[in-house]
Amino acid sequence: MLQKQVLEQFQKIVGPENVDDGEVMTNAYSYNWCMEFVNSMEGKEPLPFSSIPKAVLLPSNVEEVQQIVRICNKYNIQFKAQSTGLGPWNQPSSDNCVILDLRRMNKIIKIDERNLFAVVEPYVSGAQLQAETMKVGLMVHMPGAGPQVSPLASATSMNGPGFTSPHTGHSARNVLGVEWVLPDGEILKLGSTGLKNNSDWYIGDGPGPSLRGIMRGWAGAKSGIGVFTKVAFKLFPYPCSTKFKLSGISPNYEFEIPDYMKLYVIDCKSYNHLEKVFLKIEEEEISFICSHLSSYGLGAIFSNSIESLLDKIPIVGMKVPLVVLIAARTKREFEYKQKVMSKIMIDFKLENVIGSKYNPNSLFYAEALRSNLGLHGFIATGGFQSSKGQCDTVKVCLKTTKMSIPLKKKYIKRGVIGNDFGEGVWITSYESGHYFHIESPTMFDQTDEKSVKGMAENMEENHQFDLIKHLGAPFFVEGDKMHDLFGPEMMNYHIWLRKIKKAFDPNGIADSGFYISAK
């Protein structure tokens, strides 16, 4: 509950219908997917609830966000912003926090076909935007989370790996202009967006140093450095024909595979061989998707239910699979890319199981085009979290995979996480193979306390493992505890990050539960 005078001021800003500090609404907002896991990591009871927010506010534009943040500063109340709000990182870390649910800010501001970018508000989903960009032959980079999440949140505040990363890069690297309400309530506009005269969204860096480096890193600040109200990011050529033919009823659609796409699923047999094949394919700059998944993970991306997962024997038996989807705008391009693939298959003695031993449901191609493959991770147990998340060469990704198998197996043996033979990882290439990331999606049962606690332990041990073995910093180095663990081993970066927090949020108003506090 808010003090009456604060509530009234918030009501004045967003209208009484757009602020609620009642028990029902605030309790509902304290739930989130995987919150029980985060609680468990923090040594708390594994309940799926966070601290209860003081209120939930639904601002509709940047000015309202700014006024809310100013009131928060005045009354020393923290805020947590969320776009579509899926995941524990959307939750307040104290009971002195209001949630800014940005769902009313749902407009596509512009699709600039000529300058190849889009400008969106927080609650625009990837799917919503892609439906529009396809009309002009362009596509959006969407994170592996899927087309239902917010590309703005991904670009400004979260992570950024996606299945189409060889072709569309990483969310953090696609950012152009940004509109940003700082934790002290000032509005910052990055790059050409900050021009007083003739401002536009085409670049986000300068004049001089790029403040994008303060906005986020490999991971985003998860609302710990302010609220992003608009962002521009690059659009990429749609990889194939945009003409779709769809029939059937959800979820069993029939999809006519558009011109021109071809899928390759290859068993590279060993991690060494996989490294060479991965690099070769990416050097040729032909892939739309180029990912390594464990054979179990591979089964999952082709399945829509546990039952259908079980009939994937030809692919589930693979040792070290690689999934490559090539796509082309013209027949010539398609033929060339197939020729390159054929040559690689011969040179590296590989066999494509697609078309010979297995043919996926046509829906797979639609899901690949709209970045829907990640959601299959939920099929087996309903819950998963990724440990790892480091990003550099394919070599370190594969080494991490190999070295971590015994660790994962330990928890599989205890029966607390799903059995993927310890090999369950996702590795994708970016920007035609210039860098790669690895994560280890790990399945667990969110309704089983033992499983939740086991998963938390597994995550913690993975963090320690990555630290000691110098395998890179994982995704979830966030919050004071983790920064204090990794910082001293990483050039004391946490000291600099704290200085940034202090300079940009002098009153500590942006909830830093998933960022860093000034201390």
Partner: protein, 491 residues
């Protein structure tokens, strides 16, 4: 202590760090650093020092914090310094010349990455990489003696937009000494572990982002040496093509060339591509004034260059597909009438896209030039051309470079003049200022605000930009020892 004594103390303190033979107070030498090719006027430095190790850089910066002198880092061995960013603005300044830090630390073909120190120049690195069938992502025909690292830190535009995935490319990880004297490594180079521990597990420092939730390399880039001094960096490379096919179209209508080029970039069909006016293309490929004039007179006003490239056994297949698709695109866009030009030998163009030049190509026509450059979207380009041509109709070179996957353009107007002619120089200076301001007022985005531009540029941005940048400065260089006075960091 009087000035003389404090200078003496400074000399001795620095000599302890990097040896007296690596310091000079020779007035002739110092004078070289009190001006450059720009109109910017500053001071002469007190001395020049040549550190050769990172630890020396650390110690010198710490000393500057103690003794309160300023440091201006310089990396190029080139005498062609420009834009005023290395001219001291304060009295008590030293030049930190990094040309002795010139190791190519590693070349990694598998991961397409090179690690270099700041003193490594284009003339050294290009051939070294070529031997391994690798190539740098180059700006347009760079000067050989220019530091590769500073070119990247300055965000000089590269000429292959499809490989320009982010504004920061090709910069990856860095080792940097902040203005506080603290050593730091950005991106994956931050750790965990030392560089060799990281290498042992297969890392090659190819991910610039981070560590974790911030990306300090982005603020160091574009800072004109005012936040940190980079002591090495990794840069992204590409494989050398075995065949490169050059295309040259010219037209008096820039819109149609821009339209055509946009399609090439959008569908990632070509490697290098840029548009030059006749004078600049002539300056690029010819050496003498007469040759330049002859060629410029025979070319149509606007010239689109693009290069298709392939590698290995399927090169011909690739080129056939690309050429076929491009022909179709021209047909679909009613651009078949575009005139292909054969006035320039294709190898002359390849020399400018694959190699370095010993003298800046922009000095070939009239010995001197002043360049005005900024970023724009497509729509405003014609308007900017009109504005500049109105004020400087002759001796004007123009260059447009799509960058960042074609989402914006580096626009450059090169004002050629004879600096030995006093009147011409004075007139030019007036025009240079007038045109710059006019462009700024029309919304041109000067993302690299050098010299006198800086004040004008920040005045045309919302105030929060300068406020935020000053916060960043107060974190990384709280005592203002690094290149004070540049950007919005007033003395």
């Amino acid at each position: 202590m009087n000035d003389y004594e404090s200078e003496d103390t400074l000399f001795h303190s620095l000599a302890k760090i990097c040896g007296s033979k690596n310091i000079t107070i020779d007035p002739q030498n110092l004078k070289l650093y009190s001006n450059d090719m720009s109109f910017f006027k500053g001071n002469s430095p007190n001395l020049i020092t040549w550190p050769s190790k990172t630890q020396e850089v650390v110690k010198i910066i710490k000393l500057a914090n103690q003794m309160e002198f300023s440091i201006i880092p310089v990396s190029s061995s080139s005498k062609y310094r420009h834009h005023g960013d290395t001219i001291p603005r304060k009295d008590n300044s030293i030049i930190m010349n990094l040309t002795k830090m010139r190791k190519v630390i590693s070349i990694d073909k598998k991961n397409r990455v090179v690690m270099i120190e700041p003193g490594v120049t284009f003339e050294e690195l290009i051939p070294k990489l070529r031997k391994k069938s690798l190539r740098l992502l180059l700006p347009l025909y760079p000067t050989g003696t220019k530091s590769v690292l500073t070119s990247v830190l300055e965000r000089e535009p590269i000429i292959i937009p499809r490989y320009h995935w982010d504004t920061s490319d090709p910069l990856l990880c860095t080792e940097v000494v902040f203005g506080t004297g603290d050593l730091f490594r950005t991106g994956t180079a931050a750790g965990p572990g030392t560089l060799s521990q990281q290498k042992k597990v297969g890392q090659a420092h190819v991910n610039p982002m981070g560590p974790t939730q911030f990306s300090p390399y982005r603020v160091i880039q574009g800072a004109q040496g005012s936040l940190g001094i980079v002591t090495w960096a990794t840069l992204k490379l590409e494989l050398v093509p075995t065949v490169q096919k050059v295309f040259h179209y010219h037209s008096n209508n820039i819109e149609e060339l821009l339209d055509f080029q946009q399609k090439l970039v959008k569908y990632r069909l070509c490697d290098e591509t840029f548009i030059l006016n006749n004078l600049n293309l002539a300056c690029l490929v010819k050496k003498t004034r007469n040759e330049i004039e002859d060629l410029a007179n025979s070319l149509l006003k606007w010239n689109l260059i693009y290069i298709l490239a392939g590698r290995g056994d399927l090169t011909n297949d690739k080129l056939n597909y690309l050429e076929g698709d491009i022909n179709d695109l021209m047909g679909d866009s009613n651009l078949e009438h575009l005139e292909s030009s054969n006035l320039i030998d294709r190898n002359e163009i390849l020399e400018c896209t694959n190699n370095y030049t010993s003298e800046p190509w922009r000095t070939r026509y009239k010995c001197s030039y002043q360049d005005i450059f900024f970023i724009s979207n497509f729509e405003n380009i014609s308007n900017y051309i009109k504005k500049v041509e109105l004020k400087y109709p002759e001796n004007l070179g123009i260059y447009f470079q799509p960058i960042n996957q074609g989402t914006s353009y580096h626009c450059e107007f090169d004002l050629y003049y004879d600096s030995k002619n006093e009147k011409e120089t004075k007139d030019l200076q007036g025009k240079f200022n007038e045109i710059s301001i006019d462009l700024m007022d029309s919304g041109a985005f000067f993302n690299r605000p050098y010299g006198y531009w800086a004040k004008e540029v920040y005045a045309r941005h919302i105030e929060e930009t300068s406020i935020a940048l000053r916060k960043v400065k107060s974190i990384f260089d709280p005592k203002n020892v690094l290149n004070p006075g540049v950007l919005c960091f007033d003395e």
